[in-house]
Structures are given as structure tokens and as C-alpha cells.
Symmetry: C2
Subunit: 353 residues, 2 copies
Amino acid sequence: MNLGRMTDHAGEWLRGTGPQSDIVVSSRVRLARNLAGYPFVNRAASRQRLEVLQRSRQQILEGKLAEDMIWVDINECEPMDRQLLVERHLISRQHAKASDDLPRGVAVGLNESVSIMVNEEDHLRVQVLRSGMQLGEAFEQINHIDDCLEKRLDFAFSKKYGYLTACPTNIGTGIRVSVMMHLPALKLTGEIDKVKRAAKDMHLAVRGMFGEGSDAIGDLFQISNQTTLGRGEQEILADFQHTVVPQIIAYEQQARQALVRQRPALLDDGIWRSWAILNNARLMRTDEVLSLLSQIRLGVTMGRLEKVTMRMLNELFLMTQPAHLQKLMGSDMDPAQRREARATLIRKRLGQS
Amino acid sequence: MNLGRMTDHAGEWLRGTGPQSDIVVSSRVRLARNLAGYPFVNRAASRQRLEVLQRSRQQILEGKLAEDMIWVDINECEPMDRQLLVERHLISRQHAKASDDLPRGVAVGLNESVSIMVNEEDHLRVQVLRSGMQLGEAFEQINHIDDCLEKRLDFAFSKKYGYLTACPTNIGTGIRVSVMMHLPALKLTGEIDKVKRAAKDMHLAVRGMFGEGSDAIGDLFQISNQTTLGRGEQEILADFQHTVVPQIIAYEQQARQALVRQRPALLDDGIWRSWAILNNARLMRTDEVLSLLSQIRLGVTMGRLEKVTMRMLNELFLMTQPAHLQKLMGSDMDPAQRREARATLIRKRLGQS
């Protein structure tokens, strides 16, 4: 399986376009579904897991759910290709790391907007990713995919509980709605903690870029619903579209304006230091790149730094992550080599911009 | 008392010239002396302290110990002028901060190589500072000054113990010999801890830039003798000239060469990040300036960065310290204002270099 073609562009979630993409990096909806007649993945026998995989793969590919869909057998992938898919948010860390005994895969649409993991925690995990604030569009698309799949596969469903899932937190609609928001001003002013507390009161989860258990790197916060039982999909979606996201956007914008008015030097200090370091460092860790790019992104969206395009930022964001970097350089590198290659790549790309 | 003229040049210890000035920033010798017939400063009555001050000042100024010597009454000085003298290493922090009731002062030679504090811990603290490795020269000059003073003032002396001083650690010769060394490579490789242990075994003290109790900022280490009793001045001096300083210089040079050979990217990373931050930050603390300048200094002496002169570095080193900065800007500033003014000053100066 050659995933090399993926490394030359930034994929869907970092396209940097779409409504309100200055703050909402991407919108994501995912559904958890399980085939009726089979135990959940963690309880199934080898033969059953294989059957789930084969049936699902066939129906997904025949269903033409998205343009030019490709199939990747994860347990036959090189570790670096798995990591590449994680970095592109097409599979979860858990899906990449599971035992080689577990037959599992992912179907990916060519523009990487749609991905369907098979034999992750649930038999099927369908994801639609869109850049910017496009939750409605993502929801429509995933609904369509769900309808198509439902015609071809018999999903485990209870009249009382709704869709049945391996983890009880997903039971009911099996839907998770999330937005990746860039909130550097709220972070800088410390108000992000207030947002986190408010989100918790609304039964929302605030996580880092790579989902559960990951820290918020690069001032990117993934905000998602925690409740799937007893609330309709439309209700959850409407909450996000009309309350949660507009409110957080407003907070971030207020914080940005307050910084410009009250502490412009603090704002510019972060932006210009980041610019300077990216252009001059000789060694660079991934986390640091993300923090620095976050500041540059803020500078560009606020019109305080005009030396770089959003497209370039998004490319660097992805290209400097370990698997992408090694694919791009065409060789396996240890962490020290990567730190040097990463810094060199960034200096070179920014020097051309 | 107008000390304004001091702010337009870097003074003696940061002249950046003299033998081995790539590693030995400055050499310093000081003597502790007390007038016979008076209690030590901390035991003396007000009247006695005033007498000590008046007699000492008169004899120092009439003695023409150094060219164009000026006298500064510290307890009549503005706090900012006191701080200015501390930043120029002409008086100790303790001398600056003592109670206003204590009549005290300092005599300073025009090129700031000689300074004599009166009523600090001892009645007289004579200091000779030279840039680079000039301990021999400093020692000769302080000996000459000591001889001159001894003809004019009767010093407390015991045949058994030598010169008597307020603190027993100074009894005997009353001499302290010290060198300020720039040891960034030993710091970077972690070998500085070995040097510190070795120094301790040799009864040497390793301190920060501002003496006792100060941390090593900007990779500057002050190395001085701790023993004054039972060892001749010549012996202490010879130890420094022929053993201690050459050995530490050799260690630092080895560490620098090892960095160039084995980890050039680590070396350049520190140098170029520092250069970039100094040229782009909008807010800057004193400690950070010193750390960054330390890296630039290393870059310049190792020929890896040629954008700035040593003279400029030394000027920035001093000009960005709180009192110098405020004198230069002509106004009192709170710490936040200073951080902004400091960053602006640095960008402006480096932009001109």
C-alpha cells in the first residue's frame, strides 16, 4: 500500500478554508455502528472479526459512499504508514496500535473527507471531516452514508436504547459531533479555563488534537458532545451550530480584540518570536512547531504578520509531523535526526514563501 | 550626583578586551581593610562611622590613587543611581541597600577600573577590575593602592592573624581574587557541574554575576578564592594564574570543540534562536537578555555568527539592565514598561549593527 501521495498536500481538515476558518479549523461528525449477529470487536472470535471485516469492506467499497474510495488493511501496513494515517486524522491512535492479530482496516475517500474504520472499538466508525465550520454539511453527508450502509448491512439496534455500541457512552445515536477550534487568545489570557468549565457544565468534552487523552497542543481544542443517549442527533447538532460554537468564537474574538487594545506588545511578542524561531532554529520538536505555528496563524488571521500564507502554515503543520517528515525525506530517521531535518525543512519552506 | 555619563559606555569589566577575553570576561582583586582604633562597621556608633567615612574619603581623594577619582555618597544617592553602580559592579548590592542611617560611599576612578567602598562590611573595600585575564596587572595595581593608603591610614593589623576584618573569612591577607568566566559550552554539555565540584575541592567559590547568593545568569561564573588566612597573596594569585584559570579555559575550549565536532546543530540552534529572538521579541526580561547575549557571544567568538561586534554585545549587556535602561530612556518605568522598552532598544541597536 503506497500512501506516499498523501504527503504532498494537507488533506481536508487542514485545508484552511470554509466558514469561520480563522477560528474553527475543522468540523467532524462520526457514527459508531455494529453489525447485528456478531459480538463487539473486543468479544468476537478471530473468525468473526474476519467476517465483519470482509463483509464491511465489500459493502463499503461497492456502496460508492464517497469519490474514489481506497481501502487500507491496517494490520498489513508499515508502522510509518499507520502513523501517517493518524497524523492525517484518518484513523485513531488506537486503530494504529492494536495487535497484529486483529484484522482491521480503513476506507478513505480521495479528498480524505470521509473515512470508515472497520474493527476499531466498534465494527464501523464512520467519520466525515470538513474544514472550517461545516457541521451541517458534514452531518448531511454522514447521514447519507449511514443510509447507504444501512441498506447493505444489518446494524445492531435496540428499540429501547437505539444503536448498540461497544462502549455505553456511544449508545443511542452513536453520534459524536466535534469541532477543532484554534483558541490562542483564550489560552494566552488564561480564559480558556472558564471555557473548559462552561463546556463541562454543558456535558461537552474539551480535548487535544488527537482526541481522548491527548493534550491541547498548538492551542487547538477539540470540543465534542459526551451524551449520545436520550438526545436526538438534530438536537445535538443544533446545540453546536447555534450555541456552543458561536459562543466560543465570540469569546475568542473578544479575547483577541482585548489583546490588540490592551496588550499589543504581548500579542506581537508571541507572534514575532515564533516567526523568528521557525526561521532560525536548527533543531525542532513537533510540539514546538505546533505551538509556534499556532502563534503565526494568530498573527496572519489578525493581520499582524503577512509573510506567510495560511496554506503554507497548514502544510508545515502536517509535513513536520514524524511520519510525514520521514516520508517526505525518504528515509527512516531517529528522533534527533528528525529534529534537525524538521528545522531545516521549515527554514527552507519559509525562506521560499 | 549625576552618574548619567556612565550610561554611554560599557565600563571596564565589559570592555571585551584583554588576554583570553573570549572566555575570561574580567579579572578582579579586592582587599578588605579596616582603620585601627575604630570598631568594625556593624559595631561602630554613628559618630565613629561618620569619622571613618570622613577620614577615609579625604585620604583616598588626596592620595590620587587612580586617575580622576570621583566620590559618591551612597546614602544620598537616588535608588536608581545606586542600582546603576551595582549593575556596573562598582558597589555591592549590600552597599546599595544598607540603611540610610549608615554614612557610606564609594570612590571610583574615571575608567571604573578602581573602586573603593567605604563603610560596607569593612571600613574599606578596595577593588581593581580589569577586562580579560589580567589578574597580575590587577594585583600590582591594588598593591600600589594598598601601599599608598597604608601611608595615610593606620590599618587594623595583628602580627598573628594579619589584617583584621569584620568577617573571619577575610582575615589574613584580606584579599579576594576572582575571575568572571563565560562558560556556555560547559553549561550546555552539563560538564559545569564537574567544574563546580573540582573548584569546591580546591576551596574556590563558584558564584553568579553579582557575587554571593546570585545565580549564574548568562553562563557567567565568578570563580574566587575562599581562604585568606594562612596563604600568601602571591600563592593565591599564582594558583589562579597558572592552575585554576588555564584549566577551566582548557575545559571550556574542549567542550566548545566537542560541540563543533559532535553536535554542531545543537550549538547553532542555541546561537541562531538567540539571535532571532533578540531581533524580534517585543517584550524581554533582563535574565533572558543575558542568556541570549551569552549564546550570541559564543557564536561570535566561535566564528559561527558574524552579524554583531563584541562591543555591541557588551553594551547591550549593560544598557538593558533596569537602572541603565531607565537612565537611557530618561524616565522611571514599571517592570512591564521596561520589558517593552528593553526589547525595542535591542531591536533598534541590532538593526543598526
